[in-house]
């Protein structure tokens, strides 16, 4: 459906130096997919989205939408934004305050080149879309009189009314308050599935990305670092950046004695001792590695419950330094040989200062090659 190939867009600054933007970004999106670009602010998400929209002319690369080349730096092809037939939701909503809600939604139909809509057609389609978005009661109101959440729906209605094949959303929920955001989040997902439109969604909020997406592309410094389903990027982050950016992770820097093949287990020598890790990819012995484990995967037991002899591999003795009650779970900070490890479990009897045994289940402890650490 959408194919972005080797996309590069850099900005020329006032002093003629080149900065920002994105470099050599490639990805494919299947029809009907909900695809999210996730990354910290300034990593190039908006730039990528605007290049797809045609609002920005990339410096290099090629973009195909629905089998049609809309940009190709090699041939100089460039289809103007208003001829790409894409729906777009802006971060600021950009609903036109000088028009009524009805006129906002009718605008794409009135401007349509591919089809001429009659006034009665327009009325029917707009009313139907407003109905779907729960805005039917506001049709004749000025768009400036809507609340933030309603403006959000309106901008979505406007983006969808002309039935585009591709829908682009740039942090559409970031201006809403927390409660409304969660509500809109599930609504958005349901709507997208009902209509079957392909969606490219931009966000810096990992929870949003995990909850909404079929696939997530994690971006950093103008490049994509990992593409995968929400589960893949959460449970098998490709590197330290992804592991820390998405959810919380315990990270242990270490070394391995021998080369490791993909999908095998190996012992990582870390600051707390030898840890058996599962490697999804190969790792050469020459490079430092990283052992990563999510706080909810650790198992904590009172030290006296597991007398010394019963301790197997990946068990470590420690002492609870801090307990934070979070409601659904409790977060324990455990000090193991000068290293702090975060553990999340349902609330139990353990209190601060207690001696405990921590288990890092080997199949949940991920080993990744971390060549970047060697340079430091």
């Amino acid at each position: 459906m959408l194919r972005v190939d080797d996309l590069t867009k850099t900005y020329m600054l006032g002093d003629r130096s080149v900065a920002g933007g994105v470099r050599h970004v490639s990805f494919d999106v299947a029809a009907g997919e909900f695809y999210t670009l996730l990354g910290p602010s300034g990593c190039g998400k908006t730039t990528t989205l605007r290049a797809i929209a045609g609002l920005e002319e990339p410096s290099e690369g090629r973009i195909d939408i629905d089998g049609r080349v809309v940009f190709n730096s090699a041939t100089g092809a460039f289809v103007a934004a208003n001829q790409r037939n894409i729906g777009m939701v802006f971060q600021s909503y950009a609903v036109w305050p000088h028009m009524t809600v009805f006129d906002n939604v009718a605008f794409p139909l009135r401007m349509s080149r591919s089809r001429r809509y009659g006034e009665s057609d327009i009325r029917a389609k707009v009313e139907h879309t407003l109905e779907t978005m729960g805005l039917a009661a506001f049709a004749s109101r000025s768009a400036a009189q809507l609340s933030g959440g309603q403006q959000q729906r309106l901008s979505l209605a406007r983006a969808l009314v002309a039935e585009p094949r591709l829908l682009l959303l740039d942090e559409p929920l970031s201006n809403l308050d927390a409660l409304l955001r969660e509500q809109m989040r599930s609504e958005l997902r349901r709507l997208q599935q009902d209509i079957g439109v392909t969606a490219i969604y931009v966000t810096h909020d990992q929870a949003e990305a995990l909850a909404l997406s079929d696939r997530v592309a994690v971006m950093r410094d103008g490049a994509i670092v990992q593409v995968g389903t929400p589960k893949q990027v959460y449970y098998t982050p490709a590197d330290e950046f992804v592991a820390t950016f998405i959810g919380r992770s315990n990270l242990l820097h270490g070394r391995i004695d021998r080369d490791v093949a993909p999908n095998t287990q190996a012992i990582v020598q870390s600051a707390i001792g030898p840890v058996i890790c599962t490697f999804a990819d190969s790792a050469p012995a020459a490079h430092p590695v990283l052992a990563m484990i999510r706080p909810e995967h650790l198992v904590l037991a009172p030290a006296d419950a597991a007398p010394g002899a019963a301790r197997g591999p990946n068990h470590f003795s420690g002492r609870i330094a801090n307990v934070a009650f979070l409601g659904e779970t409790t977060e324990y900070t455990v000090r193991v040989a000068e290293t702090e490890i975060i553990v999340r479990m349902p609330a139990g009897e353990l209190v601060g200062g207690a001696d405990v045994t921590v288990l890092l289940p080997p199949d949940r402890t991920l080993g990744v090659s971390n060549p970047a650490a060697a340079k430091i």
């Binding site: 908006t46 929209a53 609002l55 934004a81 208003n82 001829q83 037939n85 894409i86 729906g87 777009m88 802006f90 971060q91 600021s92 909503y93 950009a94 609903v95 036109w96 305050p97 000088h98 028009m99 605008f107 794409p108 401007m111 349509s112 080149r113 400036a144 901008s155 406007r158 983006a159 002309a162 740039d170 942090e171 970031s174 201006n175």
Partner: protein, 572 residues
């Protein structure tokens, strides 16, 4: 403390009306109420031969409403104001859009043009156009050359000529005010239209200008108001051709009638005042609406310019044309006239007659030097008074001190007075009561009253940007009410106050109508001297004096704009 803040009062003045507020209200009241009362009083009285009031009568109003001349002048006023507003808006909006939203080459020259033009005195600007377009002007000569005959082909002393010159006069301000509208518009609104399939012209029509519509209407109404109370263009361009508008009728009833028809002039003034009040009311509502749209913009703001592509070349021609028409033609005409002993249109043989005599005459003449000196004193003193009073009044209004609304209303009152009518009202006060008639001091006081609304607005906007907690912190630290104002508020207000000072200075020395009726032999100022010289004296001297003055004023207007841009302060 907190309950007082919630009730909207400033915590530093919790005890109702303070003596300072009373003093301020008195000062403002003395300045703004008497002219209103005198004008109304004079409009309903007949006069004794010595100029004192006789019995009460409605004869003046009756006379006005039964005379054809009044309705003709009213019609002229409306056509002239409407035309000027339309012209200024069209030129200003096109410039603003090109300068702020496109990649048109040389667009920054539009700003330079506008800034320079604001330093040119009205009278000089008008004189330049009269010379250029007049019977013996270059345009008529060229047309006569092209089409044969003797012409004149165009008559500048007509409604059309008035509209053209007044429109040109206001186009730079229209441009500057609209450019901030286009600058602050979030490009996402336009991009959204593009993504909906709209072409560039459709986006411009439905979104860019559609959204700017309230601002455009507000500005059109503002120019309409300013034009209908203007005096300079109607007097210099209209009267010689016999085209009267309401403001020039007021002037003629005072200067042509013997004895002056103060009563009917005042009655006309009262009518104008009522119309102004109504128009200003609508203007306030419109501009509030224009501002409402601005607050809708959100995050993700990216300034974006529209690539003009092949339209670049026609646009470049247009951009070159604007400085030529707005400043170069008037200024070159003025320089040309200033260098000639007797005015003649542009020609090759004229070049051999160019002399510096007029400049030497002007620079050595005591009366011209006196006028320059008086103008500078008038400008500086007025600006200082207005700024000082405006700062205190603006603070009271912004912080909603008890009595703040009264202060606001009193300080806004002068806005409804057309300059010539305020001059007329004060003329009567000065003639009847206070022994200040004809002095420079009287001009300063009257100008201060006329411009106090601007002083208040500048200071108010400045104060709003200062968080009240800064003052509360000083209060808690033990500073009293006056020392908080002097030590905390004033230093933070400095940029706003300097801009205010320069703005009022430029207004005060540029305008002529306000002081025309009040200036005496001892208090000649440049604007009035130019008017008198143009009516009686040699053109060369008008041009030379005006040119020298424009050069001086350009420094002030440049300083003003540098400051206003830097601190994002309003320019109108």
């Amino acid at each position: 403390m907190s309950s007082l803040t919630i009730s909207g009062r400033h915590p530093l003045s919790p005890f109702g009306i303070t003596p300072k507020v009373v003093i301020l209200v008195l000062i403002l009241g003395i300045g703004t109420i008497p002219p209103l009362l005198f004008l109304i009083f004079a409009s309903v009285h007949s006069f004794n031969p010595d100029g004192s009031f006789a019995e009460m009568t409605l004869a003046h109003f009756h006379e006005i409403f039964t005379s054809r001349a009044f309705f003709t002048s009213l019609f002229n006023s409306v056509v002239y104001s409407f035309g000027s507003a339309l012209l200024a808006l069209a030129i200003g909006a096109a410039q603003a859009w090109l300068a702020e939203r496109t990649d048109a080459p040389f667009r920054q020259w539009l700003y330079v043009t506008a800034i320079i033009s604001l330093g040119i005195p009205y009278v000089l600007y008008i004189v330049a156009w009269l010379l250029f377009l007049g019977k013996a002007g270059s345009v008529n000569q060229l047309l006569a050359f092209l089409f044969g005959g003797t012409g004149p082909y165009i008559n500048v002393n007509s409604l059309g000529g008035m509209i053209f010159i007044e429109g040109m006069l206001w186009s730079p301000l229209a441009f500057l005010l609209l450019s901030s509208v286009f600058r602050n518009a979030d490009a996402a609104f336009e991009e959204a239209a593009t993504m909906c399939g709209a072409s560039l012209p459709a986006t411009l029509r439905h979104v860019t200008f559609g959204m700017a519509q309230p601002a455009l209407f507000a500005l059109a109404l503002l120019v309409f108001i300013k034009a209908s109370e203007s005096f300079e263009v109607p007097a210099l361009v209209g009267l010689p051709g016999g085209t009267r508008v309401v403001t020039t009728t007021v002037y003629q009833r005072l200067t042509l009638d013997m004895p002056p028809s103060v009563g009917s002039a005042s009655a006309l003034g009262v009518l104008l005042l009522v119309v102004m009040a109504v128009l200003l009311h609508f203007y306030g509502r419109l501009s509030a609406q224009a501002h409402r749209f601005r607050t809708v913009t959100g995050k993700g703001f990216r300034p974006r310019v529209i690539r003009l592509g092949r339209w670049r070349y026609p646009v470049t021609v247009l951009i070159a044309l604007i400085p030529i028409v707005v400043v170069i033609i008037p200024l070159v005409t003025i320089i040309w006239a200033a260098l000639l002993p007797f005015y003649q249109p542009f020609s090759i043989d004229g070049l051999s007659r160019l002399r510096l005599t007029n400049f030497i005459q002007v620079l050595t003449s005591p009366s011209a030097r006196g006028a320059v000196f008086n103008s500078l004193v008038l400008g500086a003193a007025t600006a200082t008074l207005v700024t000082a009073l405006g700062a205190v009044a603006g603070w009271c209004v912004a912080r909603r001190v008890t009595g703040g609304r009264l202060i606001d209303a009193l300080a806004a009152l002068p806005l409804v007075f057309p300059a010539i009518v305020l001059g007329l009202a004060y003329l009567q006060i000065l003639v009847h009561g206070v022994a200040l008639y004809g002095t420079l001091l009287s001009l300063i006081l009257v100008s201060a009253v006329a411009y106090i609304p601007y002083g208040l607005r500048y200071a108010q906007l400045g104060v709003i940007q200062i968080h009240p907690e800064l003052e509360e912190a000083a209060g808690i630290a033990g500073a009293g009410y006056p020392s908080t104002f002097v030590r905390v508020v004033l230093p933070l207000l400095v940029p706003a106050l300097i801009s205010c000072w320069l703005f009022v200075f430029l207004l005060a020395v540029r305008a002529m109508a306000l002081v025309l009726l009040l200036a005496g032999p001892e208090s000649q100022v440049v604007a009035v001297s130019l008017f008198d010289l143009w009516n009686n004296g040699p053109i060369g001297e008008v041009a030379a004096l005006g040119f020298v003055w424009t050069v001086i004023m350009t420094f002030f207007s440049v300083a003003f704009f540098v400051l206003a841009r830097r601190y994002q302060l309003p320019i109108g």
